[in-house]
């Protein structure tokens, strides 16, 4: 029991924030896409590809920040693909997203073997350094939790606030929500429905790619096979739990991040077999969805918009 209590300390909360970061980023991505009326199941694959791209670019350039940029770019490209398939060619959102997910699994495993000769993991590359926020880190408890992280953790906090402002306090956000809720009305009002949709799905992919880059460059500094491990789907659950609102999604991501951090610490303790502990985040996700979702009403009807 003493050991179990040791697991729960301030370090756990700092780890929870860290593990929440990739989920929160992907979940913001989910919000942008779904607010504009496109379901993005491909978040998982965009994350995985982002994680791979980040490591690959850091490996060849020695600069992890170039890796982060490249991961965002590749995420946006996959977003563009999803947008083309679902908007221009009216494909099924879920089939297209699943195709992107399978592609990501195959592509990253293939390239990993081409570049590093191993399907399991890449070599270690230069990752993102942690920074300490001067005054914040000296505050007791809060400083221990918030004071020292990679810059991407702080960027995620900023992006959450920014997403809220963009979506709910600017004309662009009004347009995005109008396009999702009532595309034909938006069209009549002179909004370029297709442009907004493309933009949102690309932003969605970019955020998921950024989340992937954090997974690989912000923590382990390598790429491992299938390292997104369902976080794209967990991000969708966080989005639903957070009612398609940036702050809500961030809060929900904290919950999932906490379960992830707890899971890792319990594994290190070795009291239970790893497989049992690894199930925790997935079961929690199912439980959360089952518990709250009834009251969650999606912001769009997700039907392909055809101009009459």
């Amino acid at each position: 029991m003493v050991e179990l209590i040791d697991v729960i300390n301030i370090g756990l909360f700092a780890a929870a924030l860290r593990m929440a970061t990739p989920i929160a980023l992907a979940s913001l991505g989910g919000i942008f896409s779904e607010r504009a009326g496109i379901i993005n199941i491909g978040l998982e694959g965009m994350m995985l590809t982002g994680a791979f791209t980040g490591v690959m670019v850091s490996y060849f350039s020695g600069n992890p920040w170039l890796g982060v940029l490249a991961a965002m770019l590749v995420g946006a490209l996959l977003g563009l693909l999803h947008a083309l398939l679902t908007i221009k060619f009216s494909g099924d959102h879920i089939v297209s997203g699943t195709g992107i997910n399978i592609f990501a699994m195959g592509f990253t495993a293939y390239m990993s073997q081409v570049i590093w000769g191993s399907r399991g993991a890449s070599v270690s590359v230069r990752g993102l350094q942690t920074v300490s926020i001067p005054l914040l880190k000296d505050i007791p408890i809060i400083g221990d939790i918030l004071g020292s992280h990679t810059p991407l953790v702080y960027m995620t906090l900023i992006l959450t606030v920014l997403s809220y402002i963009v979506l709910f306090k600017t004309p662009v956000g009004l347009r995005i929500r109008a396009v999702g809720e009532h595309p034909s009305a938006a069209d009549t009002a002179g909004i370029n429905v297709f442009q907004i949709k493309y933009l949102c799905v690309m932003v969605s992919g970019m955020l998921a790619g950024l989340g992937g880059a954090f997974l690989s460059l912000g923590h382990l500094n390598l790429f491992a096979w299938g390292m997104s491990g369902g976080r794209g789907f967990i991000a969708l659950a966080a989005m639903i739990l957070g009612r398609w609102m940036p702050f809500g999604a961030f809060g929900a991501s904290l919950l999932f991040g906490f379960s992830d951090a707890l899971q890792m610490r319990l594994q290190a303790l070795g009291l239970l077999p790893p497989q049992i502990i690894l199930m925790i985040p997935y079961i929690l996700t199912i439980a959360v969805l089952a518990g709250v979702v009834r009251k969650a009403i999606p912001p769009s009807d997700y039907k392909p918009y055809v101009r009459e």
Binding site: I41, T98, I102, F103, F107, Y110, F233, Q275, L289, A290
Partner: protein, 365 residues
């Protein structure tokens, strides 16, 4: 291209056309799928070139590996078998309007349950032991489909997320089982071999092809029959086509969805049982290279039709078996298979895309 064949060799064109008509498919009908597959292979060839592998050698090793001799054909059919099951599983749920993307997990729990029955009894007669083990697989898979079904109809949890999450749970759960309580002596995480009375016979020695493929094909026929000719099938389709209309004509949408997902899971579970009892004769961790995802692609290429699924599964079985030969011969990483498969899914996801490509290529369609 097909026009080209007609011009250059009219006789071959007629024979080809006759064969295809006999299969109940006209060339025109499968053109989009054919284009999708060819396009995927072309993109794959470019990927191979960029990464420094010879595409022609790789693809010819793949084709001759998959179809070149009896052994290759046997292995192709062996690989096709679980894919027929997972594709039928996806198809069945899809007919009721549900996306079961967790066939992988249902296959795994089904496989483990059948292994458990297979290793637990030693002196049962074959006619009891084998059906019992198969049934256990179907029940376990069905249960794995029942969970997301109930969560969907009672609580509104989206099945895409829950079936996916349950896939991860299944993979960890079965991994735990064969690493701890049911681990056979030795290094490999696997169970001991099942009793001979639970084995599905091998039907093409020395390949691993087992009687599971007979079950698979029979099931494809039966699924077609069930969907078209039975009340259950009618209800499932009605729920998928128009839930509110179904509800107002007295069909329970909730019941239809639950049944569809349970049957879907049971089909995938039975496929897992077939792998354990017919091919591996035990549960080995990681025995599935992603049959669940194969099934999704195959169901789409097979036009969500049970007969189409069987043919598409053979194609994907060929990718898997030929892929292994290709990897041994040319060193191309096997994951190129998953890329090709994903490209096919992406190209099929949007039927308009193919039509657009055809128009660009100057085809009348």
């Amino acid at each position: 291209m097909i026009e080209g064949i007609r011009r250059v060799n009219p006789e071959a064109w007629h024979t080809l056309r006759e064969i295809l008509t006999k299969l109940g498919l006209s060339v025109r009908k499968i053109l989009p799928e054919t284009i999708a597959i060819i396009t995927a292979f072309l993109i794959g060839a470019i990927a191979l070139l960029i990464t420094g592998y010879p595409p022609v050698e790789a693809y010819s090793a793949m084709i001759s590996g998959a179809f070149g001799d009896v052994f290759g054909i046997g292995q192709t059919l062996t690989q096709a078998t679980p894919i027929i099951f997972t594709a039928l599983a996806f198809l069945f749920a899809f007919k009721s309007g549900l996306f079961n993307i967790g066939a992988e997990g249902q296959l795994l729990v089904g496989a483990f349950a059948s292994a458990l029955i297979g290793i637990s009894f030693n002196n049962l007669p074959v006619y009891i032991h084998l059906p019992l083990a198969l049934l256990a697989g179907a029940l376990a898979g069905g249960f794995w489909g029942f969970i997301p079904a109930v969560l969907k109809v009672k609580l509104g949890a989206h099945e895409v997320i829950t079936t996916m999450m349950l896939s991860y749970v299944a993979s960890n759960l079965t991994s735990y089982m064969v690493n701890y309580p049911f681990k056979a002596p030795g290094w490999v995480p696997q169970t001991i071999v099942v009793a001979p009375s639970a084995e599905l016979p091998r039907i093409l020695q020395p390949t691993q092809l087992s009687a599971s493929i007979i079950i698979a094909v029979a099931l494809a026929w039966f699924t077609d029959y069930m969907l078209k000719k039975t009340t259950l099938g009618y209800e499932v389709r009605a729920v998928g086509l128009n839930p509110s209309a179904a509800e107002s004509s007295g069909i329970s949408v909730k019941k239809g969805m639950i049944l569809a997902l349970v049957i879907s899971g049971a089909i995938a579970g039975l496929g897992g049982a077939g792998e354990v009892l017919g091919v591996h004769r035990r549960f080995i961790e990681g025995f599935s290279p992603g049959y669940g995802w194969d099934g999704l692609a195959v169901a789409l290429i097979g036009r969500l039709h049970p007969v189409g699924v069987v043919f598409a599964a053979i194609l994907f079985g060929a990718l898997r078996s030929g892929g292994m030969v290709m990897t041994r011969a040319t060193g191309v990483p096997l994951d190129i298979i998953n890329m090709l498969q994903a490209l096919v899914v992406i190209l099929i996801a949007a039927p308009k895309l193919i039509r657009y490509l055809l128009k660009r290529g100057g085809f009348k369609w």
